[in-house]
């Protein structure tokens, strides 16, 4: 049984989103503008029982429930932010595919750009250092073995010239 379970998990892991059939015609709102808002919001909300799928492209029953709930909120007159807050109040930040910027995620959000700056800074600094007084590095002399190989390669090169 454990093995079967593992296989299932593997299959599920291999395949990010089996059978994503997403939003169904009967869920959609009659007002196209409001429906467009709902679609845009639901693209950034996570289906909580899926593997990294948004509720917009998941066909899990829970995703459908969330889509309907979201539309219900919009129909009741919520703004986009209010509708999202309604969901985060109940499901936490886990429901957001765009993690909020807060102290716990500073590393996540600013890490890449800090890294870029640090890397660039390091390069500039080393460039300055290298420019001061460091002469061209001298290649180590060839060993006898390497000299033999050079001779061999050069001979091969000469023979190669006749070929197209």
């Amino acid at each position: 049984m454990r093995r079967v379970l593992f296989t299932l998990v593997l299959a599920a892991t291999l395949l990010s989103g089996p059978l994503a059939r997403a939003v169904q015609p009967d869920e959609m709102l009659p007002d196209p503008a409001m429906e467009a808002r709902a679609r845009a919001i639901s693209k950034d909300l996570r289906c909580l029982v899926c593997q990294n799928q948004s509720i917009d492209d998941s066909d899990a029953p829970l995703a459908r429930d969330l889509r309907l709930l979201l539309r219900e909120r919009l129909v009741k007159g919520d703004t986009d932010a209010q509708a999202v807050a309604f969901l985060t109040d109940r499901y936490g930040d886990y429901v957001l595919l765009r993690p909020p910027v807060k102290p716990a995620t500073y590393l996540l959000w600013f890490g890449p750009f800090a890294l870029l700056l640090a890397g660039g800074g390091l390069l500039l600094w080393r460039g300055r250092q290298g420019g001061k007084g460091r002469a061209e590095a001298v290649a180590p002399p060839l060993t006898a073995e390497e000299k033999a190989q050079v001779a061999l390669l050069l001979r091969d090169e000469d023979e190669g010239k006749g070929r197209p």
Binding site: R2, V9, P18, L19, P25, D93, R98, P112, A137
Partner: protein, 665 residues
């Protein structure tokens, strides 16, 4: 009998790998030619043993031997032959067999083609390759035996997951693994060079073909995976920033950086320490890609607990490989001397910038993939990281990569004239503007960012063309002379231009489909039609269509534009009775500039209509055309003469020249 032979071969390969990882290393230390030679023999033996094991497992799948558990769990007599074969690697144990088989293949290739490598380096490379083999074979023999028998044998199997029964996915894993495992050689070469204490232009040349093979395969593997999700998932999404996808993207980014930094080592004898580190990191990321995906740790911590033995083993292997590689690096890298100097504006400078950006992009994907795990582990709460995060971080990092890419090959070594290069790229800038204007003409002025990105793609593609045109002095000298120069242009230059143009084409495809997809989701009755971006989709009929091991409900649609016939589309919903799963077969009509994409799903709740969804995806085929161009660029570059120095020489090398003299003691 045959499965037992396979199992025996697997154990034999483990023993041989042990020999391969010890004897040549010791031989290299003692300058003992005979002991070093054991490395080559062992590499051939390991390859033969694993070919036997792989063959045995394939045989069991092909003849549907249901006394083998692996076949029972992943096969069925009704399954088409293609998927019986693909089923070999469509599961945990079998994919590991494929992995070690490819590892042994690369080992044997080094043994065969590496005849002009210094004997000590070759021995050390093969030894490290052997160690990787030991880790994997041990893991398999201890926890994941593919040849386990079942008694009594069931009458039939459980069938392969229907989603895997697809031509795109059948060959996706082998190419992905060719990439992952190919980078093992870069790792082995890096470790070997660190032990030798010597990294030079020759080393960079020896590593380059293997990097190119791995990179090209990985490019194709990733492209096939994204193509598969495009046509299977039912709405045309081709990339989801899913942990599994990210696991393959990270080694690709690091490998791309490695490919470029190795050029600097080869041409200018500098950036050596960094290149070695990249080689180690790239393979580590490949290992992570292989392992984290199957351990399930990325998506669900519970999968780890489903088989603790495997999980712990996987972790240990990762730690040993990464830790060992980095420790060796820490100990030995300081002895590598820096080589030639260069000004910031130079070919070297451009390649350094490329490396800085690609490494940061790779680190970003790493952060985005593992951060939720990290935060949860330190008790920081559960968060999700999805496409919006990557769009906000990864994409801005890649924009300068594409922008600088066009200039890079035109910069000269050591010190370059930026104004001159930009002057020569004037026409590329014009093409970029033209591409953006074409976007405005076809799709309007929104979104502006997409139009700019389209311009960037045009700039990149034309930049690659300008690079070749400059090299052959097109229109500056008579055309005949230009053609003659083109014939003698190094293949590496053609490869660069192809790959760079390919990335530009792929970027245009990504932008087009992300920004300008049109969709229509509705219930449609037979005979009704709906308009999508000027195309009219009419539902003609829905009927049953039998398949080899499934039954399909096939809809027939007629697409017209202004009353003129465009295409007939026949999307399917396939039901696989053995696994009781349904898959979507989208119907796609392409005219190279855009795809019409149709899915007809379940009958609607009202009982007479069907849930349908139609899309027009502009430029989407270019994603895969571009990927194929990139892969082709890698292969063309591989055929460059300067790399063929690595192939066997026509004449046998005198033994004395190939073996270093033993040190007098």
């Amino acid at each position: 009998m045959i499965p037992e032979l396979g199992h025996y071969a697997l154990v034999l390969a483990l023993v041989v790998a042990l020999v391969q990882s010890v004897v040549p290393l010791w031989g290299a230390w003692r300058r003992d030619g005979a002991m070093m030679e054991v490395g080559r023999t062992a590499a051939y033996c390991q390859f033969a043993a694993l070919a036997l094991a792989f063959g045995a497992l394939t045989y069991a799948h092909v003849v549907s031997d249901f006394s083998v558990l692996n076949v029972v769990e992943n096969s069925h007599t009704d399954k088409p032959m293609l998927y019986k074969v693909a089923g070999v690697w469509g599961n945990h144990e079998g994919s590991l067999v494929l992995w070690v088989f490819i590892l042994a293949l690369f080992g044997a290739l080094v043994a065969g083609f590496g005849r002009n490598l210094p004997a000590t380096l070759r021995a050390r490379v093969l030894a490290v390759q052997g160690m990787i083999g030991v880790g994997f074979l041990w893991f398999m023999v201890a926890t994941s035996n593919p040849f386990t028998r079942v008694d009594p044998a069931p009458l039939n199997g459980h069938d392969l997951n229907p989603l895997l029964q697809d031509p795109g996915l059948a060959f996706h894993p082998p190419f992905l693994y060719l990439g992952y495992v190919g980078f093992s050689l870069c790792f082995s070469f890096a470790a070997g060079a660190l032990i030798e204490g010597r990294v030079d232009a020759a080393w960079a040349r020896w590593v380059r073909p293997w990097t190119l093979i791995a990179w090209s395969s990985l490019t194709l593997g990733i492209a096939m995976g994204s193509w598969w999700s495009y046509y299977t998932l039912g709405w045309g999404g081709w990339w989801f920033w899913d942990p599994v996808e990210n696991a393959s993207l990270m080694p690709w980014l690091a490998g791309t950086a490695l490919l470029h930094s190795a050029i600097v080592v080869e041409k200018r004898d500098t950036l050596k320490s960094w290149t070695i580190l990249l080689a180690i990191v790239t393979f580590t990321l490949s290992l992570m890609g292989t392992f984290l995906v199957r351990s399930g740790v990325l998506t669900s911590v519970h999968a780890f607990a489903s088989d603790p033995a495997r999980g712990v083993f996987i972790l240990a292997l990762l730690v040993v490989a990464t830790g060992g590689g980095l420790l060796l690096y820490a100990l030995r890298a300081p002895i590598l001397k820096a080589g030639g100097l260069f000004a910031p504006i130079s070919r070297e400078g451009g390649l350094v910038l490329n490396n800085l950006l690609l490494s940061t992009a790779c680190a970003t994907v790493f952060l985005g993939t593992l951060y939720p795990l990290f935060l949860d582990a330190i008790g920081g709460g559960k968060i999700s990281i999805g496409p919006p995060f990557f769009n906000a971080t990864f994409v801005p990092l890649m924009v300068p990569v594409v922008a600088v890419m066009a200039m890079g090959p035109l910069l000269s070594w050591k010190r370059a004239d930026l104004a001159g290069v930009l002057g020569r790229l004037k026409i590329a800038a014009l093409v970029g503007v033209a591409a953006a204007l074409a976007g405005v003409w076809l799709a309007g002025t929104k979104p502006v960012l997409a139009l700019l990105a389209l311009g960037l793609a045009g700039w990149a593609v034309m930049g690659a063309i300008v690079d070749v045109a400059e090299r052959v002095r097109l229109f500056r000298i008579p055309l005949g002379d230009s053609l003659a120069r083109a014939r003698h242009l190094p293949r590496g230059a053609w490869g660069t231009a192809l790959a760079h143009a390919g990335l530009g084409v792929a970027v245009a495809g990504m932008v087009g489909t992300s920004a300008w997809t049109t969709e229509a989701i509705q219930v449609l009755h037979i005979g009704q039609s709906v308009d999508v971006a000027g195309y009219s989709f009419r539902l003609d009929s829905v009927g049953e269509a039998p398949g080899p091991n499934y039954t399909a409900r096939r809809a027939v649609l007629t697409v017209t534009r202004h009353g003129d016939f465009v295409a007939t589309l026949a999307p399917e919903q396939r039901f696989y009775p053995v696994t009781r799963m349904t898959t979507t077969g989208a119907a796609i009509h392409t005219n190279f500039f855009s795809d019409l994409y149709a899915v007809v799903g379940e009958p609607a709740p009202d009982g007479t209509g069907y849930n349908t969804r139609f899309y027009r995806h502009p430029l989407v085929p270019w994603i895969w055309v571009g990927s194929i161009l990139m892969m082709a660029g890698g292969l063309v570059s591989l055929s460059d003469r300067r790399l063929r120095v690595g192939v066997p020489l026509k004449r046998a090398v005198p033994r004395a020249a190939a073996l270093p003299p033993a040190p007098a003691e």
